[in-house]
Symmetry: C3
Subunit: 166 residues, 3 copies
Amino acid sequence: MASSPANDAPWRLIDEVEFGRDVAVHSFTNLYGCRIGDETRIGPFVEIQRGVAVGPRCKIQSHTFICTGVVIEEDVFVGHGVMFINDRYPRATTSAGDLKSDADWKLEPTTVERGAAIGSGAVVLGGLRIGAGALVGAGAVVTRDVAAGSIVTGNPAREHRPSNPS
Amino acid sequence: MASSPANDAPWRLIDEVEFGRDVAVHSFTNLYGCRIGDETRIGPFVEIQRGVAVGPRCKIQSHTFICTGVVIEEDVFVGHGVMFINDRYPRATTSAGDLKSDADWKLEPTTVERGAAIGSGAVVLGGLRIGAGALVGAGAVVTRDVAAGSIVTGNPAREHRPSNPS
Amino acid sequence: MASSPANDAPWRLIDEVEFGRDVAVHSFTNLYGCRIGDETRIGPFVEIQRGVAVGPRCKIQSHTFICTGVVIEEDVFVGHGVMFINDRYPRATTSAGDLKSDADWKLEPTTVERGAAIGSGAVVLGGLRIGAGALVGAGAVVTRDVAAGSIVTGNPAREHRPSNPS
């Protein structure tokens, strides 16, 4: 599509990406093998890996990393500096001392359901589901599923109960 | 000013930025509509948004994001990978299903007072004041004001009481 | 060495780096004055500072910052968005009000021993040793030494005791 983001803009690496209409991709980005839905906006310093699907009308903010195995539905906000994970026990090398390859680990897929929001600096472990409309607080480390409509904060992330009603 | 950083250096996006004297801006940066004071240094992979004011003699380290609504006074250290926030309840879209625009949210401004230091990996929520000379520990998630001269750590950040005097 | 990464690839800053054989360095990287061992892979949006030594067969993932004073042995995994630290009390300026220089602070060196893995979003304070084969959980803030073979999580990081055996 003529109007899609492409490598002719300054300092973007875009390789085999399927764009919907009116997608905006900032400079200093590395996207490959993924799908980005209509009207979604991708900030600077973002990497999105092969196989990721991002729905329409999402905001993926700066400094965020979205790994293979992540599905982001429509109307999702992903804040700045959010790190997704797909490997529970990462290692550089196999027990035999070779660099790990795609055959040497188990992918743990994660889904972020429609309308959810993930605060800046959050870390989302693999194999999880973040329910529709949920809010993950800034800096939270998400180690369990998050129920639809709930708010979680902290490390590890727990259901949020304000300690100070002010 | 002839000696100011500009887009002719490799891989910087600098748009409508007002620089003091002897400012250093590294490559891989995205600065727009902000003011940067004398002798301040900006590391790589940094974004500073419209309306931000950074005082003189500050260090803004790599991978840090400073959003609209943040004021950083003089002599402030902002570590690596620090994320500021200006929106308490971020969403990608309005309840009507449209992408949120500037009219659809309430800006919560934050001030970092003179001589404060914010450790690497910290997350600073919106609407806060970090007092003069305060130290925010690395990885802290700041959800309340920080008193001048105090040290806060943890998630959420609390006044620091060393558990081990060694 | 003819096959080593160099500045002729798109958008990399590589200055006085000593590479082993078969090193891969992605775009959007800033490496200077460091050594990188055989077969090690460096992701995008990574900065590695002067004096750092990274061993062979390591993976340094995207958005990670490795500061002066860090030694990473062989077969180490460093996840995405990991921040190392070498200065316990960072400040922008000296008490005399001058910008701090190399003479105005005490470097606290850190070693990550062979086969360790550091999860994404972790923050590692200075002056520490992360033992061989240890696993630092995603989002952990490491403030003490980590014993070889152990698993630590949380902020501050503590030995991990699963609360749910499933």
